[in-house]
Every structure is written in structure tokens, then in C-alpha cells.
Amino acid sequence: MDKPQYNTDIVRSFIHWSVLWGLVAVLVGVVVSIQMTNPELNFAPYFTFGRLRPIHTNAGIYGWGVGTIFAMFIYIAQRLCKVRLWSDKLATFQLWLFNTTITASAITLLLGYTTSKEYHEMEWPIDVMVVILWVVFSINIIMTIIKRKEEQMYISLWYMMAALVGVAILYLVNSAAVPVSFFKSYSAFAGTNDANVEWWFGHNAVAMVLTAPPLAMFYYFLPKSTGVPIYSHKISIISFWSLIFMYLWTGAHHLLWTPIPDWIQTLAMAFSLMLIAPSWGSVINGYMSMKGQWHQMRENYLVKFLILGITFYGLQTLQGPMQAIRSFSAFIHYTDWVPAHIHMGTMGWVSMISFASIYYMVPRIYGKELYSIPLANLHFWLVLIGQLIWTISLWIAGVLQAGMWNAMNPDGSLTYTFMETMVEMYPYWWARTFGGLLFLSGVLVFIFNLVKTCRSGKETVPSGATAEGRV
């Protein structure tokens, strides 16, 4: 059978850059975590916690996350559609606009040009760049799907297309602003309305960037890695539609007990709990697909990354709804518990799946075997243990601080001042930095392994035959 000539060069370039931005995100993360224990390491005006933290989050979500999504969408879409990418030129333009956008974001954030909206800090000129980037990307993917040679669209393509429209809607609405100058704008919305729009965006950015695309990767790379198909097509369909329906109602669970109207909070809480079903639909579908294949957890490093990834997705989607319950939110919100929750998602779920996807794609793109499977295993354990130390220490810290914030004396006065509770956090913050350093060392092993694979990995069979991997 004639294999179409897929565009793998662009996939390779996106992988290179996304891994580089991932390294930046983790490095800056370690730096800001040290700044929290050692405030003398803030170097004003540019290198202070307040300016660096958005660089950490945006490099992570947009550089590492979206960069990997670009690579993976282009790789998977071509294979699932059995055609070459619609336009190579658009994709090359997209690559350089992507890097320009991320670089411009980092520089402007350092200079203090920020909207302050979490995960959407960049000022309006960068919003314009992001919109162009997303439109170019969407056109290329949708056109590739339209001219496909395979009639049926596989699960991964559904999640990818939902992400394309989802991100577009969220980003456009939340970036509505009135410019004062090239570097300063004011949100189009005020106060409570602005908060409601921002967290509708914030939480659904998690849905459309950090959930749907990694699920697309999972549904594609798990069967590819194990060699057996996904357990249930029906579960996939139900999970997909209910997931993208329910997510959009839940943003206000970030705003429980704030002046947001009560009914929006109640809806957000109810839908957050309902979201357990579609989330666990995918988790169970993944686990059941391993039926008879569990021995691969020992033999196949890709499966280890993928199954641990979907496990953390399962834990994340239980913990999240729990935090969305009013009474628990009253206790835990604003403490260090919350960053621990986020990092189980980003380090445990999204990054694990992304590592697996990249490990799968790189040898096939280069037509070489992975340089070292023991190193891939070392990478696995470093990022797993790093993440666990990171999150568990801050969960403990969060519960401790929440308890101290709420502690009251018999006469009705507060037991602790704010500072008495804050200084208790230092040991846990140190533990977090240690966990972050382990994760960083894992990422360095990953990069070393990839570089060695490209430079000196053993040639596999002629690259044409491997371009598609195992079918």
C-alpha cells in the first residue's frame, strides 16, 4: 500500500521548541519556589516573584503545553486522516509565530506589562498574535481533516476539534479590553463580571488546553503503544460529549463565597461534581484497554508514562470536584493546597502524557531507536517522585494553614495571627523546591536521551516504513 509522505519536519521542530520551553517553565518554577523561601533572591525590578511567576505558568501552559499540542495534532491528524498536512507553509509560519509569541510574552512579562488575569497575563498585542496563531493552526488542521482519506474520524480528532473551537471562544472573550497604549489596556468588564469571565476562561483553559488535547494524545498513543485498541467506543462518545458540555458551567467554583451571584456558584459546584462521570469515563476506558496487557507496565516504558498519566488525571478529577464543594472550598481555598492540585495535573497528568507522546514520536520521525530505555525509566521515576514530593508536601501545608486560619479560642477570638500561620509554611516550601529539583533533573535526563537519540541512536528499518509506526 502506498503511504502518503507525511510532514514530519514540522512535528520535529515543534517538539524541539516545546521541550525547550518546558525546560524554561520548570527552571523558572524552581527559581520562584526558592524566592518564596528566600525573599532576598528577588532582584528588582525584573526578577521578582510577582513578575516571574506568570512567566513560569505561561511558559508551562503555552510553551510546553501548547507547543506539544501543536506537534502532536500535526503528527496525529496526518496519520488518522491518511493525508499529508494541508499546508506546509502555514505550518512553518505557525512555528515561527509561536516562538515569537512565547519570546515576546516572556520579555513583556519581565518588563511588567501584564493584565494580571491568571493564565492570560499578556497584553493585547500578544493576544492579537495568539489569535492569528490559533486561526492559522485551526485552518490547517481542519483542512487536513476535510480532505482526509479515512472516512471515520477517530476519537482523538474529536477532542482536537473541540479544543480548536473551545480555545478560540474562551480566548477571544477573555481578552476583550480597551487599549490605553501599546503596552497597557483595561479589561472590557469590571469587578464581579470580570471575575466571572476570567474564571470561566481560566477553568476552561484547563478543559480545552490541559484536558482535551492530552486525552487526544492518550486515546491515540495508548493503543499505538500497547498494540490493542481502546476498550469501548461507546464510553468514548459519551465521555466526549458530556465532558465538553459540563466543563463550561464550572468556572465559578474558583469563586465560591465571593460576591459572584450564589446561583452561579451553586451551578458550578453541581456541574463540577457531575464532571467526575465523563472524566472517569476516559480513565476507565484507559484501564480497560489494558485488559490482558498489564504486563506491559513492566516491559514498555511508554505504557508506564501513559497509565500513570491517566491515573493522575483520575485523581485530579476527583480532587477537583471535592474542592468545588462550598464547605471544603471555605476551608482550603487560598492555601498552598491549590497549587499542589494544579501541579498534580500539570506534572502528573499533562506532562506524563506529553513525555510518552514525544518518546513515541521522536524515534519514528528520526527513524532511530530510542537511545536508552533505562534512562527513560530513570526519567519516569524522577518526574514521578519529584511530583509526589511537590504535591504531598503542599497538601499537608495547605491543610495545616487552613486549620490555623480557622482556629479560634473559647472567647471567639482567632488563635493565630496571619504571620504565625505563614512562617509554618517554610519547611513545606523547602520540600516543594526539592521535589521541583527532582522533576527538573528528570526533564534534563529526558532531553539528554532525546538528543542522544537524534545524534547517535541506532537506525531502525528504512524510515519510510516506520513513518507510520505500528498500525
Binding site: 494580571s116 481542519i142 469587578g191 459540563m246 464550572t250
Partner: protein
């Protein structure tokens, strides 16, 4: 069918996404920030305050400080009256935050005198031992740009006078951010309403306490009072307390409720017991000293 038709899938996905969006994001615009939640005493920011707000945003203060007090007992005790929607109608963007590495600032306005803020911004740990906040003393070196600020006020549609603008020429970034911090949450007269009225006779439970009894209370003084009244009560931002001649009951009232006009915070949330310990420490500790 949708599994074989990408355009249909895209349309369906958009519709499905827009249902929750419409109900929870678009519909609320009809009720939020309307007459229903307007509070007449809430006023737009002055040019200096607005610039301070923009500097708060520039420095990413919202990464560590929230600005909403939730209607929960411990929160109202710690920070003050819970936040109302109508208090934020001039906030573009909102700055409620999501993490309290530092304390909530929604009710900071009027808690401390300006002098406290200048010192604290420049060197946080001199005022709050153990704090991990970065130093912002360098903001004093940067002057404001009145032209740019006027443009901002026009975009926001906030009223301003030419006197306010010309006064900006003499201000630096630190002046602006302190002006903003002093406005936070102070548009409603909650501080006065929250004051405890002490009725009947109150008696000092530690009257006649010995020097040794009072010794452990030094820590309370150092943690809560020393930053403003000096390590040895010699006074600095707040007045000299050495040899203070107020009655026990008067001193108790001041420590418990603070002095809103003078910028002294209330320490009522320490509880009556600790407040009495402070009163006794301040008034009698040095008198009972043996040497």
C-alpha cells in the same frame, strides 16, 4: 454521522460549549453591576490611586494577595467586613486573586498609617518579621507620568481635576501604590460599624501582675506593637508608650478597637485575654523592673 462529518462536529461542539457559557457567563451580565448592587458611597479611583492600582498589577501583587473577604467567621474576624459586589464596580480588571501567600488586602485601607506602608514596602521584614515579601523601596526612585495617567482616566471614564493631575508631578510610584492601598475596601464605613462597644465595667484580670508573670508577654508586644512603637516603647510611627498614663480600661479600648483616625489597627482579634496581657505589659512591665 458526526463521526464522519468534521463540519457537523465543529458546529455541534460549538453549540454544546455555548450552552453553559450562555447561562453562567452571558446571563449574569443582566444582573451584576446594575443598580441592584450599586453602593452609593463607592467612588471611582483618583488619578493617584488608579496609577497605584496599575503599579500593583505591574508588580504582580495579585500573585500572593487576594482581595475578597469571604462571609466566613474566621475571615471576617481576621480581615473585616465581607466583600460586596458593588464595591468592585470600578475595578478593571478585578484583582480578587487566588492564593494568599500574604494576607488578604480587601480591607487594608485605613488599617495602618501611611508611614507604616512606606517602611513596609521598602523593607517588609522590619515591620513584619518572617515575611517573604520582596523589597519595593526602588519604586520611590520612579516618578509618575501625568500625561499617561490622564489618558488612562479618560479611557476609564473616571472624573478628575487638573489640580489632581498637576499634583502628580511631585509624586513617585511609592506614593501612588500607598494611596491605592489606603483606598482598598474603605469606601463603605465598615471599620466604624465593626467597632466593639464596651459596656459596663471592665476590670483588669492581671492587675498587680509581677515582672516575672509579664515577661512572656514581651513576645506579644514584639510581634504586634514593636514595629510601630519601637523595641523599647520609645515610639516611631506610633507614639512613645514609655510611662503612658492612660487608665487600664482606656488603654484596653484603644488596643482592642484601634484608633481609626490615627491609623492604629485594632487588635481585638487577638482576643480579650491577649489584649489585657498587652495592656499590662505596656503599662507596668518597666515599672516593675527590679533594677
Amino acid at each position: 454521522m458526526w463521526e464522519k462529518n468534521p463540519i457537523l462536529l465543529l458546529v455541534l461542539a460549538t453549540v454544546v460549549i455555548m450552552i453553559g457559557t450562555t447561562v453562567t457567563v452571558i446571563v449574569p451580565f443582566m444582573s451584576v453591576n446594575t443598580e441592584a448592587d450599586r453602593i452609593s458611597s463607592v467612588k471611582p479611583y483618583t488619578p493617584l490611586q488608579q496609577e497605584g492600582r496599575d503599579l500593583y498589577i505591574r508588580e504582580g501583587c495579585n500573585n500572593c494577595h487576594s482581595q475578597t473577604v469571604r462571609p466566613l467567621v474566621s475571615e471576617v474576624l481576621r480581615y473585616g467586613e465581607y466583600s460586596k459586589s458593588g464595591e468592585f464596580v470600578y475595578d478593571r480588571p478585578f484583582l480578587w486573586g487566588s492564593k494568599r501567600t500574604g494576607p488578604d488586602l480587601a480591607r487594608l485601607g485605613g488599617k495602618y498609617p501611611d508611614a507604616w506602608h512606606y517602611k513596609h514596602m521598602a523593607a517588609p521584614r522590619t515591620m513584619v518579621p518572617g515575611s517573604n515579601m520582596p523589597d519595593y523601596g526602588w519604586m520611590k526612585e520612579n516618578l509618575l507620568d501625568p500625561k499617561m495617567i490622564e489618558r488612562k482616566m479618560k479611557v476609564l471614564g473616571f472624573p478628575y481635576t487638573s489640580e489632581q493631575l498637576s499634583a502628580l508631578g511631585d509624586n513617585n510610584e511609592m506614593d501612588a501604590i500607598v494611596a491605592y492601598l489606603q483606598k482598598l475596601g474603605s469606601d463603605i464605613p465598615w471599620r466604624k460599624a465593626a467597632q466593639t462597644t464596651i459596656i459596663g465595667n471592665i476590670t483588669n484580670p492581671y492587675a498587680g501582675a509581677s515582672h516575672d508573670t509579664m515577661e512572656p508577654w514581651e513576645e506579644l508586644y514584639e510581634g504586634n506593637c514593636a514595629a510601630c512603637h519601637g523595641e523599647h516603647m520609645e515610639g516611631e510611627i506610633g507614639p512613645n508608650l514609655a510611662g503612658i498614663s492612660l487608665e487600664d480600661q482606656e488603654l484596653f479600648q484603644i488596643v482592642f478597637n484601634g484608633i481609626a483616625a490615627g491609623g492604629m489597627p485594632s487588635f481585638g482579634n487577638l482576643g480579650t485575654n491577649k489584649v489585657w496581657q498587652l495592656v499590662n505589659y505596656i503599662k507596668y512591665y518597666n515599672q516593675t523592673e527590679d533594677h
